[in-house]
Symmetry: D2
Subunit: 345 residues, 4 copies
């Protein structure tokens, strides 16, 4: 069977297709036939060897996925051969409280990811896909989709009376817009591109702010809300935007903190970019909440809601398995709005 | 100025129009020019003198309302003359926890209601209407609309992944359908009338059950949900339906208890109609939650959400102030689906 | 190794000791050396063959337990030989939402329980005991202790400003008193025995009500709270007491429903004992919440809190393994206050 | 009647006693006879004229208070002459959601405070004192006591299984320790003074850390908790400590942000003191929540819990009304542990 490995990152992107033996599922394991995989900003860090010592790397990249059950090991009861499924990213997080130790074993982080024809996976974190959802659509959801779901619906507890601001038009922001409109909230979106803001308006955004034209975009949020501010702000960018996020909040508002600062060109982890003071936190009774993807139960909730409301993810472009390098290059170009998907036939 | 009084209920409905002197607002009070008022099942009990000793009654009936500020007393800061407003039903409940003592002073319960041209009201519980909302629309919301809002959004904490069942097609159920669809839930609705079920489907219901054809409607709910059941059931009927509500629930489900049993013909308060056992409560981890209208803050939240999502209440018919008796008679007929409104020009 | 089987229940209690082969743990399994097991009212139903067709029964009874890891199968990582542990009752409920399907596989319900020297158990639901907690103490917690914890701390969300009423002096009520006092609440306790009420006062109860002297005990709760009522009532008895529980509640109060009606002498499941009306549910904004033991995470939370606060369960009497019949007979006598434990050396 | 005014702060502390006419309550108002008032760090800022343009200032300082109702205006129903009461600091915040506009009218901030024999106050925010609570004790609660209550009990939702860290031994930290122990949590406390840490241990702290000896105190928290970390950290210091607060947190932990950075010597508002990055926020699923004192309902809850549990605030020293200057000087010395109170006979 075919798979891509990250390759030797000393000169940057080195993705290469290899042949691997067909794996066999053990007790409680599933042979997973991957049919589509999506690209995320976080994947790019790994693909480019940033944030770690560069060098040869045989791991299979990409964390998003959708496919079929092609075989089952002894004792598997949750799925059967032929089931259309997807794998939860933090696969030990089924329900309840998060534990940071669950990060130690994530797909595409410390073990092989999904840019391959097959992978052996545990059965418990698999979720069933709705009948009408394509593999391409389902393969965009694990990371950006579920993070936005957690931020808006689960941790954010958004309500139809809320004003929700999303920063930028990246994957999490586009899903954030969709989930916020799903529950009837008013959505304000920021971007430096009027073209992208027009796209977001077409997708349902109630108001838009071009932060190049209005660098102090928090003032624009206050102006659009009669001075009251936003109930929820999705900070998908990083600490550098936190002060404006807090200024944009209404009393009792919540900033969902999703974005980390980008990895610096010297391959080191992000350096501090903001001088923090944040007095608004106290006098406006605000909350900053970190959001780290979501559990299997949240994933299942999101799929249910998508099926009932016939919601499709916004897909910018689909590539063939053979063109994975082109997909990554397109992802790097920053032109896209919505997800980039690789189909595996 | 003109007002209706309940009249002498010894022979049933005795509504009569009277002249009253124009009232003058004191400190912190507002002269409220009522422009529309809606009818509720709970109003009928008062209009017919049920549940209490019948006799002459000079109170003004009806609890729903919308109108304008026509004058303000000293110290009023929250509203000004000309503002388009509505009055919260339990007017001492501004935000936070409910106290049953707040019932002692409710409009149309223990003090005059809104079937009149003017009324003196305190300023604090007034809420501003969205610009685009008509008085007729706004006058349907205080009781049925807000009760359903509390049941679905506030106490119910409904989510897009939920299955919500509403019983019947009364005022609370129709609003319940609207709020449940607003946040993207799947809605199943019951009725004894296929014609009404068709109307509910047109309003967005995902599934319908005719409980005359299927008396054990809880089985139908289970069948429609692959055996799992509902996350929220709006019990708008009474304890007689509680066992089926619990049987219809999924693990962790919640029954929002809204309806009381109807007042018996002997004018006494409802008698018990159910033998209670309810073992499902324990083994399925269920909750029964009483719902008692809602606070000013919930009312404001609901209006905000209606404005953003351009939601209109379902109005069956509008009567003129002079035809209040006809409006009540139409309400009694049980033909209506949606609200019956009286316009006060 | 030795174990007790329920035996042939056609003539009532038929508990008998048998020899069984020493079991061997498979992948992910643990050989559990049981060192103590506690008795619960729910066990009595099984031991006496009530609620089902009487006849021969080879299952091992009793659901509470504490002991040591005596051996581990392949792949076990959560525990090691020698660890002092206890098993969660609903062992599939690790964290998050309950699913009624988890009842299908409970210890002492559908599979062997813990009145034996050894049992094979899955590793995931095992919890570690605090160093200073004896096996006898730990063997009282799974059922009554955790149910009360869930009712007071988890589902009840009790606070130091709450008034909490517990009904009777059974296992759940005694733990309920301990957890309620742990978080600083005011506790009112009911019983028909002044002697038991004195014991409860010694254990920290703030007020007591003898419901034989005051059958309408809800009035006494109102009198003790200046007319306000209780924030939480633990209904450990059944639906027959529900109306008084609701009458005893303050606005916004919650009844935690734990008790089922006792099994009738004809061995059938409980019959309805209450005519339900419950108008207070609505006008006082009340909640009835079923409580079904608790998850592994709740169990761990409870153990942590017991260790920090040096809380010991109330143990009435400890029997030797050889005297299991005498322990059951003592349990039947109804004399006890606190738990009855069987030590397994 | 006698009162203190802040005086001309151009040379620092200028507190001076003045005679003022006895005020008369209007409609809904109460003549409040103040019997004790406590000192807070926030008061010192005002008394020293920091954070604003220095100059003559006739306002009465101090926000904490306790006393009696000495007279009532027309329409007052909540209290009567002779009632023992205290006033909520943010007096418009009765229950429910906070609104930052409520700060515009706070006692000792924008209107007169309580270092006086009498003050006219609105009736709604007055709370009744428990019978057994002295005026001196009650006068320590509004600011530090209620802020800590909100942080631990209300916003923090602390549980007996939680580990709670409080920074330093200021007023909020001492109350934080008391409330955390009240609900059975494990408490770790930091200070630079071993003597103060000994006092905190005597008050119930489970563990102490001298941050002078262990500047990276978050490591000590991790070591004391087997690597897991704290569930709640009360950051009473400011953003300069935020990174260590986050490092000290367990997965799912919450930092209650209470402290602002101190006002700089140039009388300007605090300058940023931390370079923010905070990646732990995301990977550990953490929350930072601003805490701004509390509502009347929280105040009443706290008083109820204090009465039931016989909790007394820690009072360092009580001064007479005539010695207010000495009280302020003692407060400045930083020697105290617990509250400094001024008695007004």
């Amino acid at each position: 069977m075919k798979a891509y490995e990250i390759g030797d990152t000393r000169n940057g992107l080195a993705l290469r297709m290899v042949e691997r033996p067909m794996p066999v599922p053990g007790p409680g394991e599933v042979l997973y036939r991957i049919r589509a995989t999506g690209l995320n900003a976080r994947d790019m860090t790994l693909l480019l060897g940033l944030g770690r010592e560069p060098g040869p790397e045989t791991r299979v990249p990409l964390m998003d996925n959708a496919g079929e059950v092609a075989g089952v090991g002894p004792g598997v009861t949750r799925v059967k051969v032929g089931d259309r499924v997807a794998m939860t990213h933090y696969w030990q997080w089924l329900d309840g409280a998060w534990d940071v130790k669950m990060r130690e074993q994530d797909f595409a982080g410390t073990r092989d990811g999904f840019l391959a024809e097959y992978l052996i996976v545990p059965e418990a974190p698999l979720v069933h896909l709705p009948d009408e959802m394509s593999f391409e659509s389902a393969s965009t959801l694990q990371s950006a989709g579920l993070t936005a779901w957690n931020a808006v619906i689960e941790s954010g507890r958004a309500r139809p009376s809320d004003v929700i601001v999303t920063l930028g038009t990246g994957g999490v922001s586009v899903f954030g817009l969709q989930w916020a409109k799903l529950i009837g909230a008013r959505v304000i979106i920021t971007s430096s591109s009027d073209a992208k803001l027009e796209r977001m308006t077409a997708l349902g955004a109630d108001n838009t702010i071009n932060y190049r034209a209005t660098p102090r975009w928090s003032d624009a949020v206050l102006a659009l809300t009669g001075g009251r501010g936003a109930d929820i702000v999705l900070n998908t960018v990083g600490m550098g935007e936190m002060e404006q996020c807090l200024l944009a909040c209404a009393s009792g508002g919540r900033v969902m903190y999703i974005g980390a600062n980008p990895v610096a060109p010297d391959r080191k982890m992000p350096t501090p970019t903001a001088l923090a003071n944040f007095p608004n936190l106290i006098i406006k009774d605000l909350t900053i909440k970190g959001v780290t993807v979501g559990s299997r139960r949240m994933f299942e909730d999101m799929l249910k809601a998508m099926a009932v409301n016939k919601i499709e993810p916004v897909i910018d472009r689909v590539f063939d398995f053979a063109d994975a390098q082109a997909a990554v290059a397109y992802m790097q170009s920053g032109e896209k709005l919505g997800k980039v998907v690789i189909r595996i036939d």
